[in-house]
């Protein structure tokens, strides 16, 4: 079984198996052909395979006549923020985000600094399949230049968005774990801007992942113990591209990544009320928080591309997913871990509450996430079959099968990154969520 996933805004796979220099070059050529020239920014996380992908992409882009500005190791949100001021025609982020070290990926970013939307992604994919790439002759060949990632400008912009004065006055102490990823070494600059004390862990850009680079409680053990031992006000765990974040409360409780969006919403909607965009698989907590501010919640398919496209296109105020990715339209339509950390700190500073108190104020739901192996050839038909389980319920098929329940919901969908079917059940009642998930898992297992 070869693991290769082609999504609307990029391609991910296992390095040395499906991710080969040639595949990377073909995709980068397709992207460069679609852009038709101009300058393309390149950045990567710290995975040891990163330089291979980055060199392959640089050569391919140059061959299609695109100039390349290579920022080396650079968090994806910072790279995205650089697109507009650089007047670039696009960017490629080399990072598999939350996936393990054996993975790597290309994410394509358009001239607005957002992930390609589905129409743009399809155009690139058509070019990839057609294999008729633009070939620049000698005089039109793109140059490849390198630049330092330069987070200073980014942190200045972020500090200007946040209520930096109130955050500084609060004098927080925080723990940050960038998982030796793209944000390694940058938390210091973040904390300096916001007047926070810092305890950093896994803060070397080695690409050595001590735990999976996915921000969720099971990977937050180190952060939690440092929060307790160091007496910190909050702890944060970043994905390898710094796009997503999960938090740890001051009492050392590891918060589900589902809390990141509602925590941010509690502050941001107070400042800028407006529609919230999220996917169909995200906890109902966000709906309760949004209701407090009278903000509508718009649902999209799962994936940053869909969320940010809707955020930008439908004039949303805030977007995000239950995976810990949050975007504020006024800052940039891109999932941004630094932004999420900053707004959670702002929520604490402005309310004068501890993080655990902010969490307490959010209505509790119980969420159960399961995944079942399924051969890729059958994934979508099996997902569709699960409708049979819910003959009398309200079902939406925007992305897989989502069923609304009185105190919750259940969502069955094909994973975008693995040959798995994901089953997510949420309910105010723990037992109901568990039973709902188990029923679906049993059904799916029998089909597979």
């Amino acid at each position: 079984m070869k693991l290769l996933k082609i999504g609307i805004s990029g391609v991910r796979g296992i390095v040395g198996e499906t991710i080969t220099p040639e595949l990377v070059m073909d995709f980068a050529c397709a992207f460069g052909t679609w852009l038709g020239g101009g300058t393309v920014l390149l950045g990567r996380d710290t995975r040891p395979s990163g330089p291979m992908l980055q060199r392959a992409a640089a050569a391919a882009l140059a061959s299609t006549g695109c100039g390349v500005l290579d920022f080396g190791v650079c968090p994806t949100p910072i790279l995205q923020k650089l697109v507009k001021p650089s007047r670039a025609s696009g960017a490629i982020a080399v990072s598999a985000g939350h996936n393990g070290g054996e993975w790597n990926a290309l994410a394509f970013v358009n001239r607005d600094g957002t992930f390609l939307n589905e129409f743009q992604g399809e155009a690139v994919l058509d070019s990839y399949h057609l294999e008729r790439f633009r070939k620049a002759g000698l005089s039109r060949l793109g140059r490849v230049r390198t630049r330092a990632c330069g987070a200073e400008g980014y942190f200045r912009d972020l500090a200007a968005l946040l209520d930096t004065e109130r955050i500084s006055r609060a004098g927080f102490k925080i723990v940050v774990d960038p998982c030796n990823g793209a944000a390694a070494g940058l938390a210091a600059g973040f904390c300096e801007r916001l007047g926070c004390g810092l305890i950093a862990v896994n803060d070397e850009p080695t690409g050595f992942f001590v735990h999976d680079p996915e921000p969720r409680p099971r990977n937050a053990g180190e952060v939690a113990s440092l929060v307790r031992v160091g007496g910190a006000d909050a702890g944060f765990l970043l994905s390898s591209d710094a796009g997503r974040v999960s938090a740890v409360a001051e009492d050392g409780e590891t918060l589900s990544e589902e809390y990141t969006l509602p925590l941010v919403a509690g502050r941001w909607l107070e400042r800028e009320p407006g529609p919230v965009v999220t996917n169909a698989s995200t906890s109902r907590m966000i709906e309760d928080v949004a209701a407090r501010f009278g903000a509508p919640v718009l649902k999209t398919r799962v994936g940053q591309s869909y969320v940010v496209q809707s955020l930008a296109g439908e004039a949303g105020s805030l977007g995000g997913e239950g995976s810990g990715g949050v975007a504020v339209r006024r800052f940039q339509p891109a999932f941004d871990g630094f932004l999420a950390m900053g707004l959670i700190l702002e929520a604490m500073a402005v309310s004068g509450k501890m993080l655990s108190e902010l969490v307490e104020a959010i209505p509790k739901y119980h969420i159960v996430k399961e995944k079942v192996y399924c051969p890729p050839s059958r994934v979508h038909s099996v997902v569709a079959e699960t409708r049979r389980l819910f003959p009398d319920d309200e079902v939406t098929t925007l992305d897989g099968v989502r069923v609304e329940r009185r105190n919750g919901w259940v969502h069955i969908r094909a994973s975008a990154t693995e040959p798995m079917i994901r089953v997510i059940a949420e309910n105010a009642d723990m037992k109901a969520a568990r039973e709902e998930a188990d029923r679906v898992v049993t059904f799916v297992s029998q089909l597979v």
Binding site: A56, A62, L141
Partner: protein, 451 residues
């Protein structure tokens, strides 16, 4: 037709046209195949001054990294320096992005073994098999190395040159030199090299990576600018390098280009005078080499055309000097490869030791005239033609090692298919220009009359 001929995969590597056949995908595949062939380790990566080198080098890095090799970036670097460095730093091999004297829109890859030599024909065959099989040894998440940079890649080469030459002897003469680096890779080392030998130098076209100032082939018709520089600066000698600095042409103190076959003759004469030993040259090199070797009482071995063939034979024969008539001098005391710096050093040392001007040294070389011509024809045409000529000239045949070499009195003629273009090359050497012309004309008439 153009599309068909724009990619050449042969014994000297891969060559193609940018924007057409030579894509990053192709370069990446070849690099991955090479890394699979050498096994994981350091691979030296250099390039000539062509602007498309940057794109291709990135593609090569990607292929090497994917297969677990650690590329060592030596940037724009003379080919002999790259070869020597590959051996001395214990690399698994090397890749040089260059198309030597091909036009600007061309570029290519050349592959070096751990010995610091171009892959020989059997090594090349093994490597190409891996390429065609397409089963490359890609590494997983933990097998990746990074690209490192060698800041002074020509340093070791300069050190070896200065060990092999007598810098004090040359330096004492403070020779006035004009040098034309063709804005190629030679510009990286030429100023430092001449300074180390105490020369007073005038450099032209000495910006590595600058626009091609002239046709980089160092033949007399391309050396007008250097000849004028020699006269204007009152230089005692002029040197012209090709773009990757493996070949050298010499201009005398009156500003006259000697012809690139004289470079090898001067080097052979000087080296045999100091350390007599076997000489190896290709079939097309001047018979002046035979005369010089006979005078020194040493044997001459002739090989097929192609640097690899000459080098392999030199190593087998323990030759003290060798090379090609195109200005490619191979002096194993520095490194067994064509080296314009070794050639320039030998000429300078010859001048310093003899106290004679270049024109006088040239007069001491037995005089021959070489004329070259070409007729259109594919390899297949060439085979038919050579068959007919062999039947007709059994008695005149000297060698059938590479095409056909024949003797006509004091002249010889060599007919062979080109390795790179659909043409048949004809080369004639004789004592006088007139006789050379007569032999060439007769041969062409004979060829034209063939069915």
């Amino acid at each position: 037709m153009k599309g068909k001929l724009s990619l050449k995969v042969g014994i000297s590597g891969v060559r193609g046209i940018i924007g057409d056949s030579l894509t990053p995908q192709l370069a990446g595949r070849f690099a991955a195949a090479f890394a699979t062939y050498t096994g994981a380790g350091k691979i030296v990566v250099g390039r000539d001054a062509r602007p498309s080198g940057e794109m291709l080098v990135n593609a090569v890095y990607a292929g090497l990294l994917a297969a677990g090799c650690g590329p060592v970036d030596i940037g724009i670097c003379p080919i002999p320096s790259a070869l020597l460095l590959t051996r001395e730093m214990g690399a698994r091999g090397g890749i040089v992005v260059t198309a030597s004297h091909n036009p600007r829109e061309w570029n290519g890859l050349k592959f070096l073994s751990a010995r610091g030599l171009y892959l020989n024909p059997s090594e090349y065959e093994e490597f190409l098999d891996i390429y065609h099989q397409g089963d490359f040894s890609f590494v997983g998440a933990t097998g990746h190395r990074t690209v490192t940079t060698e800041p002074e890649p020509a340093r070791r080469h300069l050190a070896r040159l200065l060990e092999a030459l007598d810098a004090d002897l040359v330096g004492a003469k403070a020779i006035k030199v004009a040098a034309d680096c063709s804005n190629g890779a030679g510009a990286v080392l030429m100023p430092g090299f001449l300074e180390a030998l105490g020369c007073r130098s005038t450099l032209i076209n000495a910006e590595a990576g600058g626009a091609f100032a002239r046709q980089s082939e160092p033949t007399p018709e391309n050396l007008g600018q250097l000849c004028r520089s020699v006269r204007r600066a009152g230089a005692e000698v002029g040197f012209a390098q090709d773009a990757d600095a493996d070949r050298l042409a010499v201009v005398d103190e009156s500003g006259r280009a000697l012809g690139e076959d004289l470079t090898l003759a001067l080097a052979v004469k000087y080296v045999l005078g100091k350390t007599p030993g076997p000489v190896v040259v290709n079939l097309s090199a001047s018979q002046a080499i035979d005369d010089l070797a006979r005078a020194a009482g040493v044997p001459v071995y002739r090989t097929k055309i192609g640097e690899t063939n000459v080098v392999e034979e030199m190593l087998a024969r323990r030759a003290v000097i060798g090379g090609e008539g195109n200005g490619g001098v191979i002096w194993p005391k520095v490194h067994p490869c064509r080296d314009s710096f070794a050639a320039a050093g030998l000429v300078l040392q010859f001048m310093a030791e003899s106290g004679k001007p270049v024109s006088a040294l040239r007069r001491e070389i037995p005089f021959y005239v070489m004329v070259r011509d070409r007729i259109p024809g594919t390899q297949e045409d060439a085979l038919r033609l050579l068959g007919s000529l062999r039947r007709a000239h059994g008695r005149e045949t000297i060698s059938t090692l590479d095409g056909l070499k024949m003797r006509f009195g004091d002249a010889w003629a060599h007919v062979r298919p080109s390795n790179t273009e659909p043409i048949i090359r004809i080369q004639v050497e004789a004592k006088t220009r007139r006789n050379a012309g007569v032999v060439l004309a007769r041969l062409k008439r004979e060829i034209a009359a063939l069915p």
